[in-house]
Amino acid sequence: MIDKDAKFLLEVRGLSATVAGVEILKGIDLTVRAGEIHAIMGPNGSGKSTFAKALAGHPAYTVTSGEVRYQGRDLFSMAAEERARAGLFLGFQYPVEIPGVSNSSFLRLAYNTVQGARGKDELDPLEFDDYIKEKMRLLEIPPGFIDRSVNDGFSGGEKKRNEILQMAILEPRLAILDETDSGLDIDALRVVANGVNHLLTPENACVLVTHYQRLLNYIVPDYVHVMEGGRIIKTGDKALALVLESRGYDWVIDEHRAKGEEAATA
């Protein structure tokens, strides 16, 4: 939903970042307003996941230039956990396993930490149990799920559902989902999409990093961005995703190069 008067949630200006000394992001610009859904697509190695993790504050990524404001605050002055407490959520492409830590205690600690930061009351284990059961019902997650260790021995699909469950519980202002759709069968994809659609309100926003158009059949984006070589090289509406699905990325890249050459010769 596009509302030009809506508040800016995320303003990225000329963001460059390196991993182990290699420059992966080379000047990204992106503006996300409340209520919007953005899809970031692009070939492998174009920097999509790096962008998502750099925003969430992964220590392996070094920001070399540019500026990011999140709800008006300088994002890079905030520690990763502060960003999460301020409502930024990253859904991981490969969620890590944490043997021995039960999913329910992990989720409750995360929930209570974020609630505390919002000045709201924490829930005791029984209250939290009621709260989480309701969310699980919505996401069609079986009850035994939260008694297992965090992601330990989960199938690929279960891990992704767990990410969506966490998102549903934490109710973020800005959710960045890094290829949450990859490796999901069609039923799981529908469930994940339900979760995202359920989250969306005029106050929230979502950035979907995805490889495939098919997720966008369930979650309709307001903007589709194509990323290549660490930059966003094209932005369109939902129709762009369909064109990308049938024609691939090469034409966008060619078009972008041609523009660049024109600019150089002009």
Partner: protein
Amino acid sequence: MSTVLDNLVNQPYRHGFVTDIEADTAPRGLSEDTIRFISAKKNEPEWLLEFRLKAYRHWLTMPEPKWPNVKYPKIDFQNIIYFSAPKPKKLASMDEVDPELLRTFEKLGVPMNERAALAGVAVDVIFDSVSVATTYKEKLKAVGIIFCSISEAVRDHPELVRKYIGSVVPAGDNFYAALNSAVFTDGSFCYIPRGVKCPMELSTYFRINTQESGQFERTLIVAEGGASVSYLEGCTAPKFDTNQLHAAVVELVALDNARIKYSTVQNWYAGDENGRGGIYNFVTKRGLCRGVNSHISWTQVETGSAITWKYPSCVLLGDNSVGEFYSVALTNHMQQADTGTKMIHIGRNTRSTIISKGISAGRSNNSYRGLVKIGPKADGARNYSQCDSMLIGSRCGANTFPYIQVHNDTAKVEHEASTSKIGEDQLFYFQSRGIGTEEAVSMIINGFCKDVFQQLPMEFAVEATKLLGLKLEGSVG
């Protein structure tokens, strides 16, 4: 990541202070005269002096063990004070205990009087080698349980002590056990008569006090047929620059259908960040399942000491007897630990379980060393071992040395091992959900140790959880 990890692990030792109580001290050094001095001080019978002298003469012929995976400067056994004790006093109640001593316990967070009463725990306090106060003795006496210092036991129940001392760990068993047998000053004695279930957890708080005084504890626990007891041992020590040697011996004897559960939380001074000071903890702990269906269970949470050399073991002599070892060993800074267990299966259908969790941080080195031995007559014996290591940071080490000797082809022995690392990806996962790194580490570590903590009595489990959190503060980041 190291800054946060470092800050977490580098919490200064909170129990570092010295209590000033006038000591009655033996001259420095070890000789037959020192041993006679100790024995005379304690008014011991002739047989015990003979036991000590025999052990000493044997010790003189033994080389110091070199096989553990630990390094330390040569110990000068002539530069140790082998006996120091507070002035003897007759204490009828807790009110008469030296207030200085009580304050020490307050500082340690062990308000002995209240704690003992509230928790229903009888505390036999060892303070620099001599028992100062024994509580709840009367209540235990009513069911026929003897729980006292080993010195009192020698005086009041010499026949029991004489029968069992050295029966599990012989005087010449190993270098440090021989040394202990020669010079042990005090410790605990516990006797549970036939068919009695001990109505409360028995607990001892140890504390090493006089600077440079070696501490040689001797503990003997005997459970007669059908008896059962749960024994807790908790330790802290003040901070010193010179190393303190601690060489204890613990012997457990379980007769037919008896059950002994021995739990330890150990938090002795581990030395500073650069490895200066700290306790050398060279301990021999062994349980003998002498009777059929007997059961001995060791649970330990080892977080302190500069060097730990310790293998609580079970000798499974009785048919169908069961031995268990549950261990968490945490090392940080320059700490070195070489710890594990021995399960010696002699009787038929004997079973043993080993669950070992090693956590290494800083520049520490943590080794698991375990022996599972199945004797030729141990038909149907079974063992399950699981040894997991966790590394925090990249400068520490973890090793596993499992020894398996099977002399009976009906036996079944399983060994599993894993190594994991608290990496930045795990921590980032917590952070991205709003959880700070300290809480994340504490949650990961507690999850890692869950199988062991579940074996601890509840209060101890809470203490252990806090202790690990404290020990790792500053180590993750």
